[in-house]
């Protein structure tokens, strides 16, 4: 704390104090838009992840039951997700929320190779990848990366292994890079047949939407790095 201000610093402080006293910003609860609030939730979740924090969904059994999903924050701010079984939507939403992703999760029944629902309350944004992309897609493939086995290093011990009874995800996981717009925008996940999921989230342009389809078409590789 600098308690010995010179005349300029003292005069500037007085002007600033008067500015704030005369034009205070409204209290956050009344003014802050939803998106801002969501970002602060993300902030809380990520800031506490000193090194690596793992949320693992264990339902339908005691502590020895195999996890239904794993969500992991890495020190670099990225978050990884693997879903092993379509079990306990609410716990998965909560775990993603703790890691800064405001998620609504749907489990749907689809045939292999069929894309889960891809619907929104308005048109999908269409613009080329780049820094100005309204969906936060700077380069392909976008704000969530589909990773094959062995690519999901962030999951550590929770990484899918050959022989795991994998449901959705089919041995694949999603990684949300630290700069993903999904930490700032609410996202709806539809998990369908193994390896197929869609994500729908708002574009930065009001009224428009973004969608991402994740399909694993290749057979799972047995080898894990």
């Amino acid at each position: 704390m600098n308690s010995t201000l010179d005349t300029f610093e003292t005069a500037l402080l007085a002007e600033l104090r008067r500015e704030v006293a005369e034009h205070p910003a409204p209290a956050p609860a009344r003014r802050r838009p939803l998106r801002r609030r969501l970002m602060l939730v993300a902030a809380g979740a990520v800031a506490t992840a000193a090194a690596t924090v793992v949320a693992v969904g264990l339902t339908g059994g005691g502590p020895t039951a195999s996890p239904a999903f794993a969500v992991t924050s890495s020190a670099d701010g990225s978050v990884s997700l693997a879903v092993y079984r379509l079990d306990d939507r609410a716990a998965l939403e909560a775990a993603l929320g703790e890691h800064g992703i405001d998620a609504t999760v749907h489990f749907v029944s689809t045939e292999p190779g069929e894309v889960p629902p891809f619907e929104a309350d308005g048109p999908f944004a269409e613009d080329a990848p780049g820094p100005q992309n309204s969906c936060g897609v700077d380069k392909s493939p976008g704000p969530a990366l589909l990773l094959r086995d062995g690519g999901t290093d962030g999951l550590g011990a929770n990484r899918p292994k050959p022989g795991d009874d994998l449901g959705v995800g089919g041995g694949y996981g999603l990684e949300f890079p630290a700069d993903s717009v999904l930490f700032e925008r609410p996202v709806t996940f539809y998990f369908g047949s193994p390896g197929s999921m869609t994500l729908v989230y708002p574009s930065s342009r009001p009224g428009e939407w973004c969608g991402q389809i994740q399909m694993s078409t290749a057979p799972r590789e047995a080898e894990v790095r």
Binding site: S3, T7, L12, E19, V20, A55
Partner: protein, 207 residues
Amino acid sequence: MVVRPPPSTPQSTPYDPLDRISRDPDALDAFYRDHVEAVQRFVARRVSDPHLAADLTADIFLAAVDSAASYDRSRGPVVAWLYGVGRNAIAAEARRRARELHAVRRIEGRRLVDGAALTRIEERLDAERASRRLHRAIAELPEADRALLELVSLDGLSIADAARVLGVKPATARVRLHRSRGRVTARLHETGATEVPDRALPVEVRP
């Protein structure tokens, strides 16, 4: 079962959360006292005119008050965010001058400067002379590289914090810094700097 992260232990300051500074004069007071020296040095590393320095100091604090709600603690310390605000304020000033606009400032910093304070501002400007030479060498880099090297070399942010301010990944930042430091070193030698400040060569950067 969900394994919860450990509870956070936020530093207790009168301006936590930061958006208090935009409505509570006492929170602003504490924030100002903690950061006024850092902001003035940040400015002195970039401009050499004391009156402009006073204006910019006022601009940066006003911009901080206006955008305090944008501070996201997961993206680094307050001072890193404040340097981001400062960069924008200085860029706005450059645009203003480029258009030869003399917009009316909400707080005219230079009006608040008297003799003794002017001397202190000038001392700070003298102390940062070498930094300004570095700043000019950095100014010739492409914009994205420049912003990063400024924040790391000139302002002393960690690579991770600078990367967060600019929204790039730490790995990307390291690559850019490595590329930039060679160019800047060459440029400083060309302009006759006898020794290159250590700060031009961030130690965290590895090829």
